[in-house]
Symmetry: D2
Subunit: 338 residues, 4 copies
């Protein structure tokens, strides 16, 4: 059951509804979209009617489908996610760029300045890196977060970085402007619940073998813990097709936008696995209607400690931005920094 409050409803009214809910034995998690409060509750009851009549309540949605906060049925208008000064989901193309991993302050600062100059709006960079092998470089950890924060302070770029587990997620939230859930963790439910409570917007990457329903329910885990600012990211799925690391499923974008009000962005770097395909897939992402792209950029990819093969050079990023802007302008889509 979801209770949707009137846009004008004040905090007091929300509190009354929440206490009514609790009286019936349910847990109430408030979730606040830009203009509405929504509460969601694990089990539906016979109390829907009572709640409908409380002041400020706009509608009550009975449990029909498993995934609800993330669906259009619950919220018609597109959700716009705010990260620092930047907006994701407002009809333009948000550009998130940076190194796959934070390797040093110097490296991160250099790349941040390059991508900022070309028009990136948000800086990406991993401090905690999920690695297939326990013997691979696992990221700089909190030291990496501190570097990211320093780079943000100097460049003004808000930062998004990955949280790997519930224990370190609060630290990630402290330093960053947006938290990323990686593809391998899309169904790490403890992590989703923790991150949902940290008060920061979230990028949720689609799992390698997740179908649409599972993506929506992973978003639901985050949202039902209080976070309304979830951005889904298509980054390629695992198929038999072996010409690229993953198969970028761009057909998901229009389908997702029909069933959900959340923004959806595309990561062409992890999908292709090789530099040469990143630019064409970024253009395709604009064409298909994505709300943003997230790309790996490195100025010395041959020395990169993680995924150097897929990182594009700053000059390629500049070229990509130019081409995206040309395409975007023609159809009134702003690409990157204004």
């Amino acid at each position: 059951m979801i209770v949707i409050m009137e846009e004008v409803s004040d905090k007091k009214q929300v509190a009354v509804v929440e206490s009514a809910i609790k009286k019936h034995g349910y847990k109430s998690n408030s979730i606040r979209f830009s203009s509405e409060s929504i509460g969601t509750f694990p089990e539906t009851g016979e109390n829907a009617e009572t709640l409908k009549e409380l002041p400020g309540v706009k509608k009550v949605i009975e449990k029909e489908q498993n995934n609800r906060l993330a669906r259009r049925e619950t919220r018609q208008e597109d959700t716009i996610v705010q990260v620092g000064e930047e907006k994701i989901g407002d009809g333009n193309l948000t550009v998130i760029a940076g190194p796959c991993a934070v390797e040093s302050e110097d490296q991160t600062m250099r790349i941040a300045e390059e991508v900022l100059e070309s028009g990136a709006q948000i800086l990406r960079g991993g401090a905690y890196k999920p690695r297939t092998s326990p013997y691979s470089f696992q990221g700089l950890g909190e030291r990496g977060l501190a570097i990211l924060a320093k780079v943000r302070d100097k460049t003004g770029l808000p930062i998004v970085t990955e949280a790997l587990d519930p224990m370190t997620a609060p630290t990630v939230a402290e330093y960053s402007d947006m938290i990323q859930i990686g593809a391998r963790n899309m169904q790490n439910f403890s992590l989703l619940e923790t991150v949902g409570k940290l008060g920061k917007p979230v990028i949720l990457k689609r799992g390698m073998s997740a179908n649409l329903e599972e993506v929506l329910l992973a978003a639901e885990y985050i949202m039902s813990n209080g976070c309304s600012e979830v951005v889904v990211c298509e980054r390629g799925i695992r198929t038999f097709s072996d010409h690229s690391r993953n198969t970028l499923d761009l057909g998901l974008i229009p389908v997702f936008k029909r069933v959900s009000h959340l923004p959806i962005i595309v990561d062409p770097s992890h999908a292709s696995g090789v530099r040469e395909n990143v630019l064409p897939l970024a253009y395709a992402a604009l064409g298909v209607g994505a709300d943003g792209i997230m790309v790996d950029v490195h100025d010395e990819p041959q020395k990169a400690r993680v995924d150097g093969d897929q990182a594009i050079l700053p000059a390629e990023f500049e070229q990509m931005m130019h081409h995206l802007r040309t395409l975007g302008n023609s159809i009134d889509i702003v690409v990157g920094c204004h």
Copy 2:
């Protein structure tokens, strides 16, 4: 072994080379690109040296890889396929449109006129339809071909239609300007061989579970039988992802263009299976660098005998062409009729 002749080489020189090849016991299949003749032969011999010295021979490529006529190593420049007055692979976006199946002269004519007016360059329409069930409508057969020919005569649109088996393929070639090999037949080798000999350009659809290498080798079957004018078509692959009928693998386009000189187009209709996704995927196809798109259009999709759900309406086609032209113009790509 492949023998590539000088662009200036005349038929006599080619004949001399061919007879030298035959003398060594090999079969010689001439294949003529716009400016060169190429012969390919099942097994390599110790005779490469002798052939190299014959007049008109530019180079001799020893057997190194299985797939060769289709590869960039054999031919650096992009192959441009001519269909009627239209060119596929010249850097612009060729638009092929029409009903999935030819149902009647009236229906085909109506749709042809609509898509022509909006800028389609080639008319598609199936006369022989491969159907999963033996009890489904199997197409009008030769009667359908006659309708297509009539519509071409009236509209001037060249036609592409599917050949289903080696027996009826010659009839298909007689009526049509371009022959389509469907996804289910991508490894129907007898059909590929037959079609390779019919002297018409070919659209080869990627099989539902074909990897890049298999696509290239299927093209090789056609080419090694004498046909240099092969256009590959990405139409979605079969994966676990169930939000669409197939998963459109747009990442194939830039990879294919690096390894092959053949044009590659995209069919967003069969990939998505639903009308709503066709337009966004068509825009993505332009973005990713496809040489063309092929879309199902029907003016009464609810009555269509085959795949009505994925056919877009003429008005949607018009809207798609407008949007594609806007995007295309901005990056100097001509979309559809000039």
Copy 3:
């Protein structure tokens, strides 16, 4: 619509029903199971009632599902397919073995004698080979068929061999006891229709990306052309899993046996692609309830012209038969020759 005749119905009664069907404008294809005649017709009509009352008619099944002749709803009892003296589907484990390709009379005879001695019941061997590359060995063609026939005459082993296209299928039927449709041709509908009319039992291999419904409908193509003796073969599907050539989907066996009355066998050789896995997967096939197995055997696999890596040695075949017999005996399943 399917008309099922009484077991006692005579040819005359069937003829009367058929002519009644034709009078209503439908095509009638008789199909004869061991004890019943079944006619199936492309479209259902309002005439079911009339047909029900004709003498000898047991029941009339209206069109409800696409695939019908192959389904349990149409025929409760298991279909037993007879090949020479051997039976497939009688509750025991039929063993089909032989070289992937017929390379010479000597090679085929040697291997046939080896597998016969170890208990194989049917000899397999390809004369027409579907090859991914046009430059690979394509089989000996009719010469290979003649070799197979000769080996059968000498050893008494009935032979199964692949038909590649509708033109050569009749020749294949002439020489062989059972016709194989390869995985790549599972949806080569012209071939299925042709083979359905040739009066020989058929092994239909599951396509690499075919789901259950498509397998049933491919069988339906063969059956609705008059052949009731279809054996389906699971040989691995294409997935992301790269430790073997294909992923053997043994879970299909019990599901298939619930929805269809046709026998289903397993080909562990093509599934695994390497010799080492063939034996364990053959034992698994027995465990899961398959009606038979088909394995590649070669006495000089390193010299084999096709798929030598997956062919087991005669000694391994002997060991496999011994182990299968031990397992089979314990649960009253006869393995191979009695």
Copy 4:
């Protein structure tokens, strides 16, 4: 780099080697197999030579492949994992059975007694349940663990239960005899590291889209944290094939056993998703050479709070055990309790 100590090496010798390793700046994690100590270290150095000469060192394996502790190259003999009195990997078929989720003491006790009587050796049951939807029953948590412990005390059956996150994993370890890592958590690296340190044997389920290399590296995460007792579990992968919930990849078993010394078991319940397929797939698992099976059993599956459709009834479990024993006896494999 891996240092393998002599079987006779004492703790002091191990300590000397470890301190030598630390002196070179590496982290040393001791792992103790039945007879040897193995240390593994994140980065290789130039110090291999020095280490080789220390007393008790048998061999030093330089970094060649990413995954090492889990590989045959490191340890030739099969690892046997001890759980309570039971052994997994000793050549027999270990049977793990129980309800998918612990729902109540009564339910768990009843089912435990039933499966024990039929010959199960280890009791399974989830207290913490990973659920696709946040609104589904999430398990009884620690209360469920307490029930399991009580049931173990009464029946003598050792228990295996899932750990969902690093915070609750120590509690799981306290109550249980073996910890399960679920398929969705196969690459939850923080969880793997935590569980590796808890001193309990581990069942590691293959991720839905994990290839062999990734499974081995996930095992490596656990092992490199000190746990040598890892059992891998094949439970089906995600493919296009839609007749069952997942596609059981039994071909993995013989391949895995060639490259790794760890035991591998099969979960036919989660693979098939329906009760009817569980028994045949269990027999196939025995045939293919698995070291054990793990099956869901429920006496009131229609009331089960999780996955009731795939749970077999106690009577079916009894029938399965009987059939497995018959097959197993014939080839000298002991099935379940002795």
